[in-house]
Symmetry: C2
Subunit: 255 residues, 2 copies
């Protein structure tokens, strides 16, 4: 079994590290610039943790799970001795690893990760890419231990997935947040919306979002929409979003 070192100890490294542990992939070491993060994840994965790059151990595979802006700053300090380097980022092309090793690829689990919440890894799509067939096979073996849904996705496609995920995850969650702002302002418990949130997401398993769309903006019912804008008096950001998203719904439903 190949040995793995994690460079980075954030949400993704945590969840991926736990999955590796669960399926028996040996984790040699964890690096983070922050002692607190390094120690926490090292403890969790029962492995060595370091905060200095000079102490980086030799391994078969390095998993890079860094914030985009730290990416090159950290990697340029490391001599990888041509070990296999995998990055886990949606928005970084595979070719950006070329300067650090002759063996490199991408291991991108398409999911939202929080430290506090364990996810069911077996159904998470893992998007893989590599600089050679041999490396692709090695990554595939690793990925298939972690998930039942492994797909070869090139850098361009992955970039578009990362953008799509902003819409269907980050922006969706913000819509939840705005709905909480509305109910809480009116002394209604946010929890009353939970079945609606659940069903809205569940529908998407059976139909395309275009077919699933409901609400006043589909038929551009200005009577209801103006009532809603009136209710948002004083909340300029929300009002603006209400109007623009309604316009966008109407545009894309009739495209």
């Amino acid at each position: 079994m190949k040995s793995v070192v994690f460079i980075g100890a954030g949400n993704l490294a945590t969840q991926l590290g736990l999955r590796f542990k669960e399926v028996g992939i040996p984790i040699r070491q964890v690096y983070s610039r922050s002692l607190e993060s390094a120690q926490r994840l090292g403890n969790l994965l029962s492995t060595e943790f370091i905060t200095e790059l000079e102490e980086l151990a030799q391994a078969d595979i390095y998993i890079v799970a860094l914030a985009d802006k730290a990416f090159h700053k950290v990697l340029s300090q490391i001599d990888f001795r041509n070990a296999l380097i995998l990055h886990t980022a949606g928005s970084i092309a595979v070719s950006e690893l070329k300067q650090y090793s002759s063996n490199y690829g991408v291991f991108y689990p398409l999911q939202t990760f929080s430290k506090q919440r364990l996810v069911d890894f077996s159904s998470i799509p893992i998007c893989i890419e590599a600089n050679s067939d041999e490396n692709l096979r090695a990554i595939q073996l690793l990925a298939e231990k972690c998930s039942d849904d492994v797909r070869e996705i090139n850098s361009e496609q992955r970039k578009s997935l990362h953008l799509a995920a902003i819409f269907c995850c980050n922006f969706v969650n913000h819509m939840y947040h705005l709905s909480a702002e509305v109910t809480e302002k009116n002394q209604v418990d946010f929890d009353i919306l939970r079945p609606l949130i659940k069903e809205t997401a569940a529908k998407i398993n059976e139909m395309h979002p275009k077919q699933a769309q409901t609400g006043p903006a589909v038929r551009y019912d200005e009577n209801i929409m103006n009532k809603h804008l009136g209710q948002l008096k004083g909340e300029d950001l929300m009002k603006e979003l209400y109007a623009r998203i309604s316009k966008s719904i109407n545009h894309y439903q009739n495209k």
Copy 2:
């Protein structure tokens, strides 16, 4: 058992009618202006269907499930003989029924309904309101047959729930739609996003959306955000939404 007549035969009337049937509430008749809708729902509920208001049967309870703009136009043509009238709309105050009967109230199931998809009614919050304690008890009995989650919600609160539902259902679904636009344009199957959509919604059962928020807009990472705006070249509506929702995320996360 009190007898019920449905005025309206759309998505909500369909789902509610099926639930009534399931739990044994007798449905006397279904009215719709459209013969096709009336017939479809009449057949589904094994009951009489009519398209002329003069043929409306006498019943203990009339359930009004009409589009907002047809509401008064239809109701003003009916002599309800002081039977109990319930409307099912989020955005209409209970008092708007006053002119039609001395017994009236609201029966508002907070959920998104499509004709093609059966929902688990027992967990749908039903928001009730009435013009008297006696009518409230009658509505409560009816609602508790349909759902385990019945709540007394006044007209102001219901109005805010209706608005909140636009954000966490209609707008959320539109974000799904936009993510599909992005993936499909780049020859990636939309289905790869389904686990992410599921997890994003599931998180909300455990945490408040403010805590669940992730992504570049939280830390206002302009580097990634500008990359994404570049990818949306030529898609002006989406670009505009990307920028404004990101701004709103940053505002509400730091509020």
